[in-house]
């Protein structure tokens, strides 16, 4: 599979975000899963994904330091796993 940094991802159309002090709650109306986005930076990146042609482009646009990329890649892969993120159309 393509490295997650090169993939074009977007929030699933049936996922809603609710901002919280720790980050956000993400609720998937399709599979009824609730996920905690545990850092405000993750929330910013997730919201920006749809406007960029790749995950790494979104990370750059959100000014995420290169050293933090691996942890963001892992977090976003987890969100793909739970179907919160899907391939951008």
């Amino acid at each position: 599979m393509t490295d997650i940094g090169d993939r074009a991802l977007a929030l699933h159309p049936r996922v809603a975000l609710r901002p919280e002090p720790f980050g956000a709650l993400a609720y998937h109306y399709g599979n009824r899963r609730l996920v905690f986005l545990k850092h405000p930076d993750v929330v910013r990146v997730v919201q920006a994904l749809g406007e960029h042609r790749s995950v790494d482009a979104a990370l750059t646009a959100c000014a995420i330091a290169p050293a933090r990329r691996p942890s963001f890649h892992r977090a976003l892969a987890g969100l793909v796993e739970s179907d919160m993120l899907v391939e951008a159309a």
Partner: protein, 383 residues
Amino acid sequence: MTLAEQLKSGLDAPICLTWELTYACNLACVHCLSSSGRRDPNELSTAEAKAVIDELHRLQVFYVNIGGGEPMIRRDFFDIVEYAIAQGIGVKFSTNGAFIDAERARRLTAMDYLDIQISLDGTDAVTNDAVRGAGSYATARAAMDHLRDAGFVERNGPFKISVVITRHNVNQLDEFKALADSYGAQLRVTRLRPSGRGADSWNDLHPTNAQQRQIFQWLLAHGETVLTGDSFFHLNALGGPGEQLPGLNLCGAGRVVCLIDPVGDVYACPFVIHDEFLAGNVRDAGGFTKVWRESTLFAELRQPQSAGACASCGQFDACQGGCMAAKFFTGLPLDGPDPECVGGDGELALAGVATAAVPRPSADHSHRVTRLDRPVPVLLGRK
């Protein structure tokens, strides 16, 4: 602050909440959390219920767990559910299935964002009906059949079979799972609480200490395929490192969840319908939002809680002292062990509780049963 600490200190709005639409019920289950049976004349009107939904929408509550009583008894049940869904609030509702016939099954199947939990407490009529009443097993199975025939699972995903684990059905966990699988449904198991009429049946029904180990191992083996509503976190004291049940492992009462009862009273959770845990009413000025954000009770619950007598136990981080409601309705202090503490500390504590000191549930909407104190004269005649 860790996520758990953040959640314990409370959110601006609940993650989800339980909303019991009516105290009316066709059944009289011996463990009913809300002592339901008869409708309360003061229950929220349709307009008031819709105003609550408007508030939940503004608060961005993603979904509500609707229950009762039997919520489908309300004539405006579909009206309320459809209104919530139209506002983008997902609905899960708990039912005994008595009002799900072929036509209603098709109507429920056609709705988006709807999830159904059908209660069943035994995989055979004898085990189930002893708790839920004569005929209730057949009723629940008929409802499941109607949902299957309507294609509910294909369109909406698995409905849930919701089981309260007792001493008598604990050996049926594999059979419950097989039954759920046979419908393409999902199994949900929850903990028996000594709340409502459960206050009177808990002693006879709650799993033994040996059975609790059995439940823990079974849940560990089944992971996230079986839902639990996070209700068994007290069992985590049995696990070694890395052996924890899925879930948040915390009591969310008044912090991330709460209960709205049929008359609009807001309680810390569905298991504590008692004046001590009453935070306010949705009819008060400021509505539900003000109760959630400003009530004294909820503010107290969001303060760091003392581990009390459990502070010296090495397992406190795993079990968090267990369930507030289970302690309260068995007369135990809230900062001590759960009555079902797997370390056995609860049993010891229970032995010291005087029966008269145990709080009683505040409201009782049970069906009035006519008691015959005197022998009834019967005329025997010849045909």
